[in-house]
Amino acid sequence: MLKSFSKGLVVGVALMGAGLAQAEVKQINGAGATFPYPVYSQWADAYHKATGVEFNYQAIGSGGGIKQIKAKTVDFGASDAPLKAEELEKHGLMQFPMIMGGVVPVVNIKGLHVGHLRLDGELLADIFMGKIKHWDDARIKAMNPGLELPHRAITVVHRSDGSGTTFIFTNYLTKVSKSWADKVGNNKSVDWPAGVGGKGNQGVANYVNRINGSIGYVEYAYALQNKMNYVRLKNRDGEYVSPTAENFQAAAAGADWRHAPGYYMVLTDQPGAKSWPITGASFILVYKQAEKPAVTKAVLKFFDWSYHHGQAMAEKLDYVPMPEKVVKMVEATWAADIKGSDGAAVWTSSDAE
């Protein structure tokens, strides 16, 4: 009895000692983009099991993430829309790409098989501008010879809330359609010329599933989960491609991160025969001048761990992990740019996994 008691005491004291010896940061708080939320929460779970550090992530949207990090209410922010280098500089922030994925146009046309409808960027832009009103329009028919298309009105479904997904989608349309660039433009939310708006990826998925003759755009994971009918798109090389992890990877492969100041890079309309044209990266934002170096270091340690141990989890959820050379670049940037209040680097190359 006494023996087991003293044993318990010894174990308890040992545990306490171990707790004190470890880094004092037990919890990291972040907020932002909804798109990477599934993979971040998987990583957080695995990381918690491996290290005991808790990783809280509030998926409040990219705009919210940028706002929260600027207000310093979180340890890091997350956004699907990268900030321009000037803006990063203005707020003393640095950003790095964490994960990549694709945005997918989805349709609901009764009787049409998954992946059978083919569109190109210009046609997609004209549909979303409300210029093409019916599915049996001559231009759609010309692109889809042999496909039975009904004379049904097209209902455009877009996001009603500001979102990184919308940023990536409108970025693509701005690149491929001059009239879209002139009249609507590229942002997290825009003045939609036509259609109805659903809140969040799920809201858009709901509306598209509900309305016969509709077209919308969602993150790839939502298209998969909701078993939605996606569209094949003509990419820059003139090939019709399907949204698959492999094709997102192809779009990401050629990206020249080295010459992107502040890692500002939107992976839409990339060259390559297999490239899915609406691919994007999701970013993490931290302060260059860390007010609490220990916390910032814990944040970087988590993302470093995820870069190296999280690929399989990401791929399982149909995301594209960052390539090894980009990870090396990002970690070099951490070492060079992120300083504590004493001017000492928060991250050193010896911290890497």
Binding site: G64, K67, G162, G185, S189, V190, V196, G198, I211
Partner: protein
């Protein structure tokens, strides 16, 4: 009067008066506190909305443009959407609530009174998002396939109001939002109407019946005039809820910043716009424009409710005149 009181009571009068005073001050404080909070909210809203009003001027109230890319904002579309959906809610809600309340108080057999009454109260307790989901998944598809074509074929061909009932059959529209709102406000209005109908003295009704009045005459000439203030109070409560309702509307209205003549087109309301865009709005002017919308909702609510009050006062005065 005091002279007639026993001596003992006079001696105790002072502390009692102090107690009364204290109580009066406390209640006065709470009453003024509410006014203070109201003023503080209004001031904060106005303060944060000022950049938008200053930048756009009167244009903000008459423009329906809402473009986060070019930073041009106007409140017309959400303002009209708020008023139109509430109006539709009232058009459906008031007569139905009236019928329910009358049935429960005047006509229902005793064994049915309680279950119907409880059901109404339960309806009021359902969270609004559930109504929104029901609207999107159950009502909208049914409405699209069965009711909207019928309305377009009958009402849509009428002169003048015809265009209001034409549009693509998608079931996500200003009309759907108004209808869902109607269902949401019915329990509020019906419950209050039932409560006030129940306080009509039995003798009053019985005397009317004794004079040979029909049931309808008793309701129309006795019950309604007696309970008018309460009935309008219930309607105002429902109207207040309809003006501010957010989640249910967001689900079924389509959230498009457009003004259409047709009720079957997607639109938005002030609260649905705020719910959609507030978390993601960046930049001073965008945020300020959203707060300006909040300010306008406040003003609209105050105007609408004061107008209802005014109407009530007029009603009371004319009735008083007739009596005299």
């Amino acid at each position: 009067m005091q002279n007639e009181r026993p001596a003992g009571v006079v001696a105790n009068a002072h502390p009692q008066r102090w107690g009364d005073r204290l109580f009066q001050w406390t209640t006065l404080f709470f009453a003024l506190f509410v006014l203070g909070v109201l003023a503080a909210i209004l001031l904060t809203l106005a303060w944060s909305a000022w950049p938008a009003f200053e930048h756009f001027g009167w244009h903000f109230l008459v423009s329906s443009e809402w473009n986060p890319v070019t930073l041009k904002f106007g409140a017309l579309s959400p303002m009209v959407g708020t008023l139109v959906t509430s109006l539709i809610a009232m058009l459906f809600g008031i007569p139905i609530s009236f019928g329910i309340a009358l049935f429960i108080t005047e006509m229902a057999p005793d064994w049915l009174k309680r279950p119907v009454g409880t059901a109404i109260e339960l309806l009021a307790a359902i969270p609004s998002i559930i109504y929104g989901m029901w609207g999107l998944f159950v009502f909208a598809p049914y409405f699209t396939d069965h009711i909207q074509p019928l309305m377009t074929d009958t009402l849509g061909v009428l002169p003048l109001i015809g265009p209001m009932f034409q549009g693509p059959p998608i079931g996500i529209s200003v009309f759907s939002a108004g209808f869902i709102l109607a269902i949401m406000v019915i329990p509020f209005i019906a419950a209050i109407m039932r409560d006030v109908f129940e306080i009509v003295p039995r003798t009053l009704k019985e005397s009317a019946y004794a004079m040979g009045s029909t049931r309808w005459e008793v309701i129309w000439r006795v019950v309604l005039p007696y309970t008018k203030v309460g009935v309008i109070g219930g309607i105002m409560l429902g109207l207040g809820r309809a003006l501010g309702e957010t989640m249910a509307v967001t689900f079924v209205i389509g959230n498009a910043h457009d003004l259409h003549l047709s009720l079957f087109m997607p639109g938005n309301t002030i609260s649905s716009t705020l719910a959609n865009e507030f978390t993601e709005a960046d930049g001073k002017l965008y945020t300020s424009s959203l707060i300006a919308l909040g300010f306008l909702l406040f003003v609209i609510t105050v105007i609408v409710l004061s107008f209802a009050r005014l109407l009530l006062m007029r009603l009371e005065r004319t009735q008083g005149g007739r009596k005299a």
